[in-house]
Amino acid sequence: MIVSEIMTTKLVTVTPDDTLSHAANLLRQYQFHHLPVVRATTTVETLDSDQKSRKTLPVLEGLLTSQDIDMAASLGTWSSSDLLHQPWQERRVLEMMHRATVRVSPTTSVAAAAQILVERGLNGLPVVEYERTGQASQEDEGGTRAVLVGLITRSDLLMALARSLGAFEPGMQLTIPLPMGDLTPLAQLLLLASELRIQVRSIIAAPLEAGIPLAATVRLGTIHPAPLLVRLQEANIQYTFADLPGEGDSHV
């Protein structure tokens, strides 16, 4: 899985010159915690003939989080005795935002993005594509600029996890022990499911110990598993389905 499959692309953004009160309103209205700060840049591209196309690209300037606003607000109350002090609501986004130097690209793997979020203690990362600019200007880094294409947050990762567990599709769950990491029972189960026209919503056989998966959890899109379970018993494949009372015949 790569970042572009799970990132948020419908973004609410602010510009560096917006006020913090505008940003705080947006955060409250949409109930999220990250606002990418972008500056719209118009580029002119020359196509093969005389045609020219204009497009506006959001170039990433930084990231403003709800924490930054909390910080501004609490600093504001400290020095409120100072009459000349500007109230925090009127300060500009530019003053409080982060440069957001840690970024990922749409093709970064989700695993790498997750690792960055956890290791750096971040809650969200902007997803950017670097574009070569024709002429070098002052804000370019070596003739390229970072065009914002999305945002990936911890929520996106959690949703991706839930989705890959098949949680958004109706289905039932079956656990099959894989003795010594032998995948044959899983393979047989999948063949049977395909034969009985039962849809597979998700398969998890993650290694828990010493790199060997000892059990597979399969989510099947059926309300009526009995025919499949009969075939599994005939093929001598162990399974767990529901909490069976007392007898431990097929418990993992």
Partner: protein, 661 residues
């Protein structure tokens, strides 16, 4: 037997066209079960297909009516798949459609004439609900007395279908179609109770953010079972938060634990939602013999569920009740008996003790032919083998149902689930009026406890002058006083209707372990209330912890009634010996009435309680954590034992044991 003694205001919707909802001989859901039911009803003389006064004719739902609950591309796909394709290219295209819209698997294969048949079923439920609600779609009746009050549609209850997908044997969601059509034409509030062993996911999805429909589903937990959803924490979204109720029960729940769960939950939910009509889905796959599930009920538990539904409809909805069929895959031994019970209950007829011999002779052979398959299914699902006989009485014989080995721990887990649901979804003053069966507080006689130094009179009173007139404040109100008072129209935050609020106050007054303080006018209108009750199940094991709840009528706001009433109620000898807490849950607040947003309202509550020394505490208590606007306030008395205080604070931040759910 020409005199079918059915109550004239109960009708049954049945049309032979519904029998074409048939996925083939190998499929677990067979139309034969409806046949067997109708045959049983007619053989027992409970209903006649020719009797115009107990039958409600159905019609197919139109595409327009269906489209209120289904997307138009889905309806178009169902229509396309209803006719056989001819060419090769066409069949490829059909295969794609089938995959996209949920017809590709063995559960819900595409059928010829599927659209037509399913539109009839959806139409049946639509007519049933519209007739009960008095809408034109339900047909014309000569007088209001002719209009049916209860309708049973055994062919309906296809609760798994999504707006854009077929799922779990269901193509069109007749329940969503019926409800959506009624909502379009009226401001009614509809309570849907799903007794099927599978979670009612389709209906919940359809109304997840709609506060006009409360969906309640009692089902076997989705840890393993289809469809996997239905956790307690699926509470609804947006405005609909607090209007989706899920009670995931353990496998092998059995009758007693099941009955306890429905009895302690449904009445408080109905009273707090105040619906205009109750729609119930009586999927009888909850039965121990059902090959698809593990709830292990007998007809005793199913009867309890049916009786309760009937009772709730009469107590709270002027009798308006629509019952639907649903799951139920022990086709001939369970379904006909269970659904006869629904009809008998609804039409106030008594069931005979024994099944008619003629009926048994007709259906026993049908069952025998599938007996082996059923036995195999029981075994692979991990259940004890069912007895291999065909029932001869309406009730189940207890000796056919050996007790489950882990009965105690299963009922305990269910109680935990139920108390969490009560806690999350039932407002505190309603909850206090419906104490959980087991937690009869040993602290009966709250008055003595709170008046350690023994006051002379059992209850005090005081006069409060307000710009709108004088109010009498009275604590420890006895039921005899509450009976005489009437409830002001503006007092409805918890029970929504003043009349019900009155009932609620009465039952609180009757409880020996609750204290009720009222503010009422000299003319006897109740303008405000403060209730004091022992902390509920969540605080189990903690001594001297009491919950305070307050409400002031919207007609009496702004006069300081709340503050004075609270101060008066808390003038207790024992105030410093106890811990008091109050919870503010934003979904119970009358923010519209006050024109405040929920954060301002929160502030208001915090200030009101702060005047009595309450302090806000952070807590992991699941209700309070649910919304940032919710608030938890507590007042710890100075003389409370330090050990109890630290227990209390530990409890506040303890991790709730949600992993089990």
């Amino acid at each position: 037997m020409s005199e079918v003694k059915a109550s004239s205001r109960a009708r049954l919707v049945y049309d032979p066209a519904e029998l074409d909802y048939n996925f083939g001989p190998e499929h677990p859901m067979q139309p034969g079960r409806i046949n067997a039911l109708i045959d049983l009803l007619e053989t027992c003389g409970l209903w006649r297909s020719t009797g115009a006064d107990s039958r409600l004719p159905l019609r197919a739902a139109t595409v327009e009516e269906l489209s209120l609950a289904h997307t138009s591309d889905y309806i178009a796909a169902v229509q396309t798949l209803s006719t056989p394709g001819s060419s090769k290219a066409e069949s490829d295209e059909r295969q794609l459609l089938a995959i996209k819209y949920g017809f590709a698997d063995g559960d819900t294969p595409a059928l010829p004439r599927m659209h037509d048949v399913c539109a009839h079923i959806a139409g049946g439920s639509l007519v049933a609900l519209s007739a009960v609600m008095g809408l034109p779609a339900g047909g014309a009746f000569s007088s209001e007395d002719e209009r049916p009050l209860h309708v049973f549609h055994p062919g309906g209850g296809l609760h798994h279908a999504w707006a854009e997908r077929a799922s779990g044997f269901c193509v069109y969601n007749d329940i969503s179609v019926a409800i959506a059509n009624v909502l379009r034409a009226s401001e009614a509030k509809i309570l849907y109770i799903d007794f099927d062993a599978h979670h009612g996911d389709g209906v919940q999805r359809a109304f997840y953010d709609d506060p006009h429909v409360m969906t309640v589903s009692l089902h076997e937990t989705g840890r393993y079972l289809f469809p996997g959803t239905g956790d307690v924490l699926e509470l609804g979204n947006g405005l609909g938060r607090g209007y989706s109720v899920n009670v995931p029960l353990e496998p092998f729940t059995e009758d007693d634990s099941y009955t306890e769960a429905i009895e302690s939950l449904l009445s408080p939910l109905v009273i707090s939602f105040a619906p205009d009509v109750i729609v119930t889905e009586h999927g009888c796959d909850t039965h121990a013999w059902d090959p698809l599930t593990h709830l292990s009920l007998t007809l005793r538990g199913i009867q309890a569920q049916i009786t309760l539904a009937h009772q709730l409809a009469h107590t709270y909805c002027q009798g308006r009740w629509v019952a639907l069929g649903g799951g139920g895959y022990d086709l001939y031994r369970v379904v006909p008996r269970a659904w006869s019970m629904v009809w008998a209950e609804m039409s106030d007829q008594a069931l005979p003790e024994h099944l008619p011999d003629a009926w048994v002779e007709r259906w026993r052979p049908v069952w025998s032919s599938v007996e082996d398959q059923e036995a195999a299914a029981q075994q692979v699902m991990g259940k004890a083998p069912a007895p291999t006989n065909f029932p001869t009485s309406f009730q189940d014989r207890p000796e056919d149902f050996p007790a489950q080995p882990r009965r105690w721990s299963i009922s305990r887990a269910n109680r935990h689930t139920v108390s969490l649901v009560r806690h999350l979804l039932v407002p505190s003053s309603v909850r206090q009026a419906f104490p959980a069966a087991r937690s009869q507080s040993p602290l009966a006689g709250l008055f003595d406890l709170l008046h350690l130094r023994g006051s002379a009179t059992p209850s005090r009173s005081k006069t409060l002058e307000t710009p709108a007139g004088a109010l009498l404040l009275r604590d420890f109100c006895p039921p005899s006083l509450v009976e005489r008072l009437t409830v002001d129209e503006g007092l409805h935050a918890f029970a929504r209707l003043p009349a019900r609020e009155h009932q609620l106050l009465l039952s609180i007054a009757r409880r020996p372990d609750c204290a009720l303080t009222l503010a009422h006018t000299p003319a006897g209108h109740i303008a405000g209330e403060v209730t004091l009750a022992p902390g509920d199940e969540w605080w189990e094991g903690l001594e001297n912890v009491y919950e305070v709840a307050i409400e002031v009528s919207s007609n009496w706001r702004g006069f300081g009634v709340g503050r004075n009433l609270l101060a008066f109620a808390l003038e207790l000898d024992a105030l410093e010996d106890i811990i008091l807490y109050a919870m503010g849950l934003s979904w119970h607040w009358d923010t519209e009435g006050l024109g405040l947003n929920s954060y301002r309202y929160r502030e208001l509550i915090a200030r009101l309680f702060a005047s009595q020394g309450f302090v806000e505490y952070p807590t992991t208590e699941p209700n309070v954590k649910m919304e940032p606007a919710n608030i938890f306030l507590a007042r710890v008395g100075k003389r409370v034992d330090q050990r109890v205080v630290s227990q209390f604070f530990n409890h506040l931040l303890s991790t709730p044991n949600l992993a089990r759910l």
